[in-house]
Amino acid sequence: MKWFGLIATAFTGILLLSAVGDFARFGDPHSPANAGVGDRPSVSQYYITDTYADTKVPNIVTAVLADYRGYDTMFETVVIFAAGISIFAILRSLGGPVVPVSHPQAIDTSVDGDHQRIIIGTTCRLMIPVIQLFALYVVAHGHHSPGGGFQGGVILGASFILLALAKDLGTALGRFSEKRYLTLGCVGIMIYAGFGLLCQALERNLLDYEILHRIMPATDAVMARSHSMLGVEVGVAFTVTAIMFAIYSNLSSNGRLDHGL
């Protein structure tokens, strides 16, 4: 089995490497992927030249993610949500007999343990608010600087995971309970889908944000796309935050949600 695997891997590798010569040079601005074939410009060139005029969003990646490819991103969010729900379905044990495990706090009653708890606790008290503020900045400023819903959501989820690692899972669940994170995950998808359906209710295609200037105060068709992207990103951030913490809390406590690692 070992030798078969090695031979298969080597064969695949040689096959892939034999095609490497046909690729464009590294960093070539005129490669087919970057500049299109012949006279026809590629879609990425359209994104670079026309995004600002279309949407007034300078971060092209955010604009492509939330507007031009909004349908893709909507179901991306659904994929994350489905992953969270399936982990819930696989691991979570509801109302079973609770197996008493030796409590981890019984271990670190020594002077060393106390010192560690003070240092870690103080550091977390200082760090977690900063992390959460930064996460909100990354979400809200995703149009103008690197960032967006996925990144900000992961940072926000990480702040809760840090709390769970520093204290125990119960403390973190006291702040962000299971009911609350599952609700938040649903709300995030509903915000995203709601923006899409709102466009449909105004007799346009799904996620065609332009028409939303009719119900958004003081916007034109271009700014409506920019503002809708912000709303959609907030929805993505809600779902990602909730599901990141759901994955961590279920995996770390084996689905019991008691005290975690």
Partner: protein, 156 residues
Amino acid sequence: MEFLKTSVIPHFNYWVYVILMMIGLHAMITKNNLIKKLVGMTIFQTAIILFYVSIGVKSGSTIPILEHHHDDHAEVAAADAHHGEPAESDHDSDAVNPDHFANPLPHVLMLTAIVVGVSTLGVALAVSQSIFKDFGSLEEDEILEKIKQGGAAIDD
């Protein structure tokens, strides 16, 4: 040496991605432990992400975020349109040269691929944890052994 100069150096990103991908594939095929298989899967995904992002690189370009000072468009206006037609826009800057910005499309695609990777990894870890709960092992041969024994017990 000649081969190195003509084939490897201008395409080194593709060589790195193939090597990384094969390391991941080898781990997925031959390793016995389920967690090691997952590590292989993650290396495989990372290789693909590297492949896509390196395709979008343009030498001398910057990140795909436009300059947007409200009163100073000098940076943008200095760029001449090499490809594509100038944007017919109502804001007062001239066309943006696509060669000056990295290709945004691979970045978007890989952003979503990373997210899918995290989700699949989470589900895979959950499944392995539940396998460990049932069989007391993460080694493939031991699990197969126990499944066979269990099957025999049910047949009896």
